[in-house]
Symmetry: C2
């Protein structure tokens, strides 16, 4: 049967989600602990790779096993094994055609920027930004990002062929000196959110005008937006699927 | 001349404030970086020792040097050296009779408890508490702590002779599932805040009644309150001194 898990983690403690030869990753920890519980090798598949220092509030993974362990029992015992830097929020049985990455309809990322005085207790959880910033101009620039565009200028990866993505929404809330960007789209290329946020901050500083965003999109060249915001401000917030993949606490018949 | 610094740090990354033979401490990092800047050995004195994992928003340290470095210059260069887990909020010249610990009139500690679902991104910054909790009873219990009492039952250290302390205020604010205890007193013995908070939570759970606090204070025995709340919820928030020790950005004449 196929298990789906919603996972949150503190990216500060891992070299990203994906297994690395010599560095600790979220995938490695989850697979090792699941192997202890299931007493056999388990391979997990994540909805999105997160880089070192990038956090997740709602990463989704799936894995298969012939063994049936009730969801809540598995969640409790696994959470004990992975405490405290990874936490399983939910486990459900899903149909076999569910795939954490391929079935994803859209994803939400958030990015936190603080314009307050530096706080060492928050250094792993947001970007500190101390130049003068024009929030209104950032909001104007954000409007150019929403919609279906060729994001070639916002992709580091030269191999990706289809660089067209649809951004459903891109919002900014400002509370007590913390800027929270929330972006929802049908897909994001490598570093795309961090490149977009970095460019929004350049607009906030006055180095670019809001209308430059259109020029950069139309130019379709990475060198037009050669910035990447730091990983520690980024959160994989939520992965959206069709309702039929909500899953069940009851094992699903094949 | 004597320098006074207000320091914040993320205790997760240190084995406490005080130098340890084989473990990294806040004191060691500050002394090493100051030695680089002043090109000679510098010894710092902190207002309070914080244990491993205990944070500081307003630790105060002092040190002496014959060399005059303007406060803001020193702050900037030192902050670059200690980034990102320690941060110097302020540096001032103070009179030579100032001593970070001995001159302290009162100290404020805070302690954070979350009754929300566990969040791996906050595991180093608060205690997660998942039993049912009666906030009103906690508030009633807190009233017994305020005032001048013999806190022998709240001290781990059997050597301390004078166990009488005055608690000026002890307040609790609850916001979005986070309990923030704030306690101000003329002095705190080793682990005293964590012992008090642990006992308040026992009252919240219903294992003790608010009026038991009086019995425990009167009993003057550690075994009556044998609990210690986890270090990661604790913050050395502020150290209060006489106004004459506010300090100056101008060097002070001897």
């Amino acid at each position: 049967m196929r298990y789906k898990m919603i996972v949150s983690y503190d990216g500060s403690f891992f070299h990203g989600f994906q297994r690395q030869p010599d560095e600790i990753s979220v995938q490695q920890v989850l697979e090792e602990k699941l192997a202890i519980i299931f007493k056999t090798k388990i391979v997990i598949h994540g909805a999105g790779r997160t880089d070192a220092f990038v956090h997740a509030k709602g990463q989704v993974v799936h894995f298969d096993s012939d063994q049936l362990i009730p969801c809540e029992n598995l969640r409790k015992v696994l959470n004990k094994h992975i405490f405290p830097h990874i936490y399983i929020k939910e486990i459900r049985f899903v149909p076999n055609e569910f795939h954490s990455r391929k079935s994803a309809i859209k994803k939400e990322y958030r990015y936190l920027v603080s314009i307050n005085e530096f706080d060492p207790l928050k250094s792993n959880y947001m970007l500190f930004f101390h130049d003068r910033i024009n929030i209104n101009n950032i909001r104007l620039a954000m409007e150019y990002i929403v919609g279906t565009h060729d994001f070639k200028s916002f992709s580091k990866n030269k191999i990706t062929k289809n660089t067209v993505r649809t951004i459903e929404s891109f919002t900014l809330t400002v509370d007590k000196g913390i800027l929270e960007f929330a972006i929802v789209g049908d897909g994001f290329m490598y570093n795309m959110v961090r490149i977009i946020v970095a460019l929004m901050l350049k607009v906030g500083e006055g180095r670019f005008k809001p209308e430059d965003i259109k020029r950069i999109l139309d130019g379709k060249e990475r060198r037009l937006a050669p910035f990447v915001a730091a990983p520690q401000g980024l959160y994989l917030w939520k992965v959206h699927y069709d309702e039929k993949f909500n899953g069940s606490i009851e094992p699903i018949e094949k």
